[in-house]
Symmetry: D2
Subunit: 362 residues, 4 copies
């Protein structure tokens, strides 16, 4: 098992979908940093279920209780532990799943890996619910980053072919990020957003689900963040983002698009600004050169698969009978996880970046 | 700095493009494993420069000298250290680059990060040359994996729009992998390969470069490899692969394609085989569910940007003058790094997978 | 900060003496292991304060609430998190200490390290209270070790010159350990125990405190536990035990006594037993050769300094006034921490050993 | 296996006594630090064998070749790799030991652990020869520490009962350390040193060996070095020092002596100096409170067992015959390892301390 991440700023996430509680311990944060817990809770609400018509009706309090690590409202050098109680859990919904692994879920792989000892209820430790403590950790890290002038924001770039306006990789700034992340449905082009929501509603109507792509940008990063080779920006950010269930692709800057470009097109020339700082005129590299921040906006995209829990009848196996069987999932589930995943991507990025920043040379 | 990777099987890569030597230490390997050094060298040759018309004319001996860790040809519990001498180095080629950071390279970011103390010659520690020790480590790990029935192979999936036949994600097997990796130009469709090589040659003609996509498959993985959350298969493999210079995207299974599918299309149903094993009928998930291997072939793709070193004149800055300047790179460089990167992707995957396998429950 | 330990079995301890709660997350435990929480609580009671006349009158419920990681009473692959509420906290007792660092405590060093942002109340994260979650983690690990035939037990070897009978390093067995650890005052020679308690009572009478030595033995360890060099048995056990506040010395086998022996005296000869196993006829090496377990009982000793909190008036500084001052500590404190530290040493050993055992070759 | 150490400054040691070479990789060093390799070699000479009558006649060149990580004489951000060739190796001396494990050595434990695959020649990876790369790493770290005003020095405190004058824990300074470490036989009291050497010579005469205690002090440490709990000064220093073969005890400040003191005696009162700095009037705590440096000299002692290789006939087992046997070791060996271990203790302390210092808050 490894539900921990980070070298200087370390987080360890605990809990299962239906255990008594879930939560996170954060060790190694800079000291004396004021943490606004009300702002943390507001950030976590962006991930919370039940905010609109198409998302799962399960209501989570999701109010984290910070039991350690803050003293007079500030980080004090001791690890922060936040505990989120699991209250509204209907374990019976999942009884059948012990026998019939859900296609697209970790039920089968976890069952084999742990020789049947895993907590299968609601996906156990593999549940998307575990992104709640990730969001807590991300929100804490984000406040510390913002105090250093670093801002992170993400939006829905596409859902089942419906495209939002991408960020301008050169010009995106803190205001752009703030504007889009404050929306209930975080897109830049609201008309596209309406169409996305209609697409999701139609899928739901059909007992089906859809996936999408989230684009995330980080502005204000100083030059020099990221370590060479295995701890470069891309390695660390991808490792953190792939911890979010359902992510199947992560790309930076031009991403897979680089395969269609000439070097003369893809290279970003350096140029001095009037104020003496160095920038590139274009930003195909997405803010990272050699795994190290260039001072340009960091731009990445993550692809999310359609929610595997769908109401349609699917083929699967019956472990108890040792033969093929079918399954129709009746529990609560989102027809599209993408909207709720937007803050999760920001949180994963925040955790990875603060760790790298705190690792830098004194 | 962090040029180390792995928890149970740990590697640490050292060296700069023009230091006396480069190399790698590998700690934590299973003990008593015979290592065929001739096979290792043969694997490394696939990465070596100068194998054909379009690749850099720099000849590297690249013969690793194993100075420790093997006893009577077998792993003995002590770390393996392999040293590769840097012989054919023309440092003078790079003198100018100390002042004029090359667009698309880490010259500028490393210079700022290390306050000018970095070894700029040939990209220093950020050089693609450092993938030679990665290939050494990967080749060693691969032999141990193969003894456990696990086979890794990759091919060029596309170069500047020219597409090879992708792997059949359900049917790909060890023979398929062996066949394609034994080719000098590793594609499944040789006609596409011819076209790719013509594309590369044309770019070279133009003092330009092109990028591409590499597809890698792993067959024979047992169910259960991968740890939850931050150490899932995707997180670990992406972290390792992003350590290869020029990678800007990594995706698994259907990858970014999931964004266009319904859940009912993307889910892979489980079914019992005649021999009692469980497989999925399709493989959109690419062999990983919840970050844990499903027993299906693991399929991933990595996007490589066009070689940033191009002969055309480019805009950049002069650090010494503090003003904008231009640069035409005259040193040796590949017009397309993709063919030589194929074994690097396999090696990164091997290192990450062996570490995860050795971390599994006793 | 680093309140985490372990590579395969990782623990992360959180909390401050007067935060809302303290606790621990344990990741990487073997799966399917039944954990008897009643036995855990019984183990933790051995550390709990207020058990007798001379120990601190602060009553701690110290009932850990396991909020995750167990499913149907067994480890399920997800991290265990145990939360212990801080109930009986009288913060006012410590108000003065923010200004007047207590001699022998971490008040001054923590205040400088964290630039005044540390939680000073009751020693904050440096409080001996943080050994409660360590004992929780140790008790869990110990149950898993015992299932593998490995038993850990410790006793008070000396308090202020009063000596208990040491373990017989060759013959000590599980029964010996069980017998001594079940005692309220864990000594082998009860007469010595009486004298120790009289010594402690006399120190208390005098508003003073005393220290002592704890001896710990581990029996049933297979040959081969421990990794070479920095992760040898001694390195790992010492690192874990030194995490217990007040420890100033850790030695193994003959320990500092080796300095007075000839090699011909100190070497332990190997010999075949009737049953074909190999043992040494003596055990000066204390069960570890080259950092690896030899199959002989592992024997170690830890020296604990006298409780630094004493009622006598002591010289210290006043931070606010910037001048020398005096301090008489009036809060609750043990005149001797050694009796309550006995299970802490066992717990630290258990955590370190289970991690090493789980790291061994498959 | 784990021959690596450190979180921010990481070292990985490789090699066996009779492999082609041994060495070390050091990652994460501060950048731009000038490293005087001549001074490094001079430091390593203090550990080298063959310097006087009583030490092993094996001559080692022990000249490390730095193949990476330095650029124009300074650390450049890339890992340093130093390779030390194994030249004067007589493998035949050790042929018999494959069958007859030497008492007091790791021959038996390594053979069981690695199922016979370990490199037994000269103790393989467990050989004291592996302290040569440790000394290289320590010497590099020490130069960086000295540039920050931190000085480390050790002396022989006792050999078989013959005592040197201990350091004055309050007054010891850089000059004291320099004076004693420059001596060929590093003791403060040269008369005691003569007696120690006579003791060693007598043991040698008798085909026997003796052990001793090394005392090490660190001066100039700022307040605040060390992380709480498992990464406190004591935990980290002990873990590093126990990696040196033959160490069986490590203690700090008053060490095991604390068990005989009252709290009122052992506590060190704080007091303002004329220059406004805070010191303690005594230094029983040995420079560490709560695992964090107090600004007072750090004082520790390590106990070394007598060299297990002795010429006398000893009882052991014959693995091939499966019965008891005897062994008389004829190879080269020191009758007392302590004098050569003095720089090893300093080196281990340097590596552990630089890592902790580089982990501190920016």
């Amino acid at each position: 098992m490894s539900s921990s991440f980070g070298e200087k700023v370390k987080i360890m996430i605990f809990g299962q979908s239906h255990s008594e509680a879930i939560g996170v311990v954060i060790d190694g944060l800079p000291v004396g940093e004021e943490i606004d817990l009300e702002a943390v809770r507001k950030f976590m609400e962006r991930r919370a279920p039940g905010r609109n018509a198409y998302s799962t009706p399960r209501k989570e309090a999701d109010l984290p209780r910070v039991v350690s690590g803050l003293f007079e409202g500030k980080t004090c050098g001791a690890p922060i532990c936040a505990v989120i109680e699991n209250t509204n859990t209907r374990s019976k919904d999942y009884d059948k799943l012990k026998d019939l692994p859900r296609p697209g879920h970790a039920d089968f792989t976890a069952w084999v890996k742990y020789k049947g000892a895993n907590d299968h209820r609601g996906g156990g430790h593999f549940s998307g619910r575990l992104t709640a403590p990730l969001c807590f950790a991300g929100a804490v890290c984000m406040q510390i980053l913002e105090r250093r002038g670093i801002h992170i924001g993400a939006h829905i770039l596409s859902i089942k072919g419906v495209q939002d306006t991408p960020f301008d990789a050169v010009a995106v700034d803190a205001d752009t990020l703030k504007a889009v992340t404050e929306k209930v449905f975080p897109v830049q082009n609201d008309a596209a957003g309406e169409e996305m929501q209609a697409t999701i509603a139609a899928a739901k109507e059909n007992a089906d689900s859809v996936g999408g792509v989230i684009e995330c940008a980080v502005v204000g990063l100083p030059v020099g963040v990221g370590e060479p080779m295995f701890d470069g920006l891309e390695s660390r950010l991808a490792a953190a983002i792939y911890a979010i269930p359902a992510v199947k692709g992560v790309e930076f800057g031009e991403g897979f698009g680089v395969a269609a470009l000439f070097g003369s097109e893809n290279n970003d020339n350096f140029t001095y600004q009037a104020d003496g700082t160095v920038r590139t005129t274009t930003n195909h590299h997405g803010g990272s050169l050699g795994g190290i921040s260039s001072g340009m906006p960091l731009v990445l995209r993550a692809a999310f698969k359609p929610t595997p829990s769908i109401g349609q009848t699917q083929d699967t196996i019956s472990i108890s009978k040792g033969e093929n069987d079918t399954l129709a999932i009746v529990g609560r589930h989102d027809p599209c996880i993408v909207p709720r995943a937007v803050p999760c991507v920001e949180a994963a990025a925040a955790v990875a970046l603060l760790d790298l920043i705190c690792r830098m040379e004194q």
